[in-house]
């Protein structure tokens, strides 16, 4: 009996250590994999989708939106697609979103990952679908490869746009090279563009010169340092601006000391 006791204790400690070790290994491998596969910054989501982090939390990967889509635009990411497995997305270059008036993909979502409120408006106390409210991404023009910017007349994207003259307008500029022709340059307006990708699908160049990117990628952000002083509405952004002083090694000293500093400037 006395001989067995330390052996039992050893066995117990070993099995505990083994459990902890295996759990730690499993958790590390598992979380590393999850972290890799959920990073898909260029993925385009269905209409009315929550922000990407919340969407990944909330989507149950059932594919009901995919089945509701009459144009086979939406797909579920398969293993090997390098997108978060099982989540719905679309590739406008292949099949764009045709912006159905009744938005069939949104109401079928059982979890609320696709939000009805974000694509409806109230008309005379009645909620109606409003396809123009969807915001899946933003069309971006590569002016280097867009032939309209070369001076060749092409308004394929402008005409394909379901919100013609709102999301894409044509800007007439004088073609200085010829001196007698006009540029008809497509300009995308972020506030109206829905990211449907009909322009990308319609683009005539070998590889589309206009393409949809997620808003997160396509849009910059000015921040509080600059405002349109001529625009009262823009000035209101400063209401929430937080004051603050940047403290560096240099700013700790007085300005005079800074001028007398004999050290290197940087």
């Amino acid at each position: 009996m006395r001989k067995e006791l330390p052996n039992d204790r050893r066995k117990f400690i070993l099995s505990m250590a083994r459990g902890v070790g295996l759990s730690a290994m499993g958790a590390l491998v598992w979380s590393a994999y999850v972290d890799e596969v959920k990073a898909a910054p260029l993925i385009l989501r269905p209409p009315g989708a929550l922000d990407e982090p919340d969407f990944l939390k909330t989507c149950i990967k059932c594919g009901l939106c995919v089945e509701a889509c009459p144009y086979d635009t939406l797909m579920l990411a398969q293993p090997g697609d390098n997108n978060p497995i099982g989540t719905p997305f679309f590739v406008p270059r292949d099949i764009p979103c045709y912006m159905c008036d009744d938005i069939p993909c949104v109401p079928v979502c059982p979890t609320g990952a696709l939000v009805q409120d974000s694509v409806t408006t109230e008309v005379e106390d009645e909620l109606t679908w409003d396809i123009t409210k969807i915001d899946m991404g933003l069309a971006v023009v590569d002016v280097e490869s867009c032939i309209a910017f070369w001076g060749i007349q092409c308004d394929a994207c402008y005409r394909a746009c379901p919100l013609m003259d709102e999301a894409i307008t044509l800007q007439y500029d004088k073609n200085e090279r010829t001196g007698k022709h006009a540029f008809l340059k497509p300009i995308v307006h972020a506030d109206a563009c829905t990211g449907c990708g009909l322009c990308e699908r319609a683009c005539v160049t070998k590889k589309p010169a206009i393409y949809v990117l997620p808003n997160e990628v396509a849009l910059g952000e000015v921040g509080d340092h600059y405002i349109k002083g001529w625009d009262k509405a823009d000035e209101s952004r400063l209401k929430d601006a937080k004051g603050g002083t940047t403290v560096t090694e240099r700013s700790n000293r007085s300005a005079v000391d800074s001028l007398n500093d004999t050290g290197d400037l940087y």
Binding site: G19, S23, G26, A27, W30, S31, Y33, V34, D35, V37, K38, P53, D54, L56, K57, T58, I60, K61, C62, G63, L64, V66, E67, M75, L76, Q78, P79, G80, D81, P84, I85, G86, V108, C109, P110, T111, G112
Partner: protein
């Protein structure tokens, strides 16, 4: 036929459900749409995977009523009636692992070595880890790696490399460890083992009729649940039993059958004993 009557019924439900899902996506049938993660029955009744929902809640998702109702319906069904029946009557992976186990028996692999040591409780650890990682990573962690989801989603919406996950499970079950995935690792199986612990639909053993041939233990994927074989009569009460009914079919002595009442009787007896 009598020897495989339940097996045929199980294959019928497993494949039938997948066919309905497939038809919904491919031909627009409105019977059962979606997949095993969440679906819509006749466009009205929502159904959802309660374990997926649990992970999503751990990830911090704010969920719509539809999916919560759907998960409650499924959870109630298995908790009250089916037990762990999802695993053997619905889950498509069951066909992969059954094939591996059938081959194992045919090739006599289990006679050489049944298994290296692994605890049946691994599945509960994996389940706990799935919930913890869901919180840590901010999304349903098992749903991202689940070969079950890859299988049913893949068969309906396109498989991609998901076939690789099935091959891994098949090879592991065939060559490394008997029933490894379904019997030891799968956290969904662990979840349903706990959820279905007190369900009414049970296999019942009649020790009087038993001739101790042990064919039932030979085919059972969760052998521990049949500990009473030949010793005493009663229901198989452990949550790990998948109600696959293979034991009932292979029994030549009618010593096993499905039953509901005996479970109730036993529970009453147990409570009496405790009192």
């Amino acid at each position: 036929m009598r020897k495989i009557r339940y097996l045929l019924m199980r294959r019928f439900t497993q494949i039938g459900i997948l066919v309905l899902y497939f038809g919904a996506n491919a031909y627009g049938w409105k019977i059962l749409q979606g997949n095993l993660s969440a679906s819509s029955l006749f466009e009205t009744v929502p159904l959802a995977d309660p374990f997926a929902l649990l992970q999503m809640l751990f990830a911090g998702a704010v969920l719509a009523t539809d999916v919560i109702v759907g998960a409650l319906i499924i959870a109630l069904f298995y908790a009250v009636i089916g037990g762990r029946a999802f695993c053997s009557w619905v889950c498509p992976i069951n066909m992969v692992t059954d094939l591996a186990n059938w081959l194992r028996r045919r090739l006599g692999i289990s006679d050489v070595q049944k298994r290296v040591y692994m605890s049946r409780n691994v599945r509960y650890w994996v389940m706990a880890m799935a919930l913890l990682l869901s919180t840590a990573m901010g999304l349903a962690a098992f749903e991202i790696i689940s070969p079950i989801a890859m299988a049913h989603r893949g068969l309906v919406f396109g498989m991609g490399f998901g076939i690789g996950a099935l091959v891994i499970i098949f090879l592991f079950d065939l060559f490394v460890h008997e029933n490894a995935w379904c019997g030891y690792v799968c956290p969904l199986g662990g979840f349903y083992s706990i959820l279905g612990k007190f369900s009414l639909f049970r296999v019942k053993h009649d020790a009087e009729a038993c001739t101790l041939c042990m064919k039932c233990k030979e085919v059972c994927p969760e052998k521990e649940v049949l500990f009473m074989i030949g010793k005493n009569s009663g229901s198989v009460l452990m949550g790990a039993c998948t109600n696959c009914a293979r034991c009932i079919e292979v029994c030549d002595d009618d010593a096993l059958d499905f039953s509901i009442r005996s479970q109730l009787e036993q529970t009453i007896e147990q409570t009496k004993e405790k009192a």
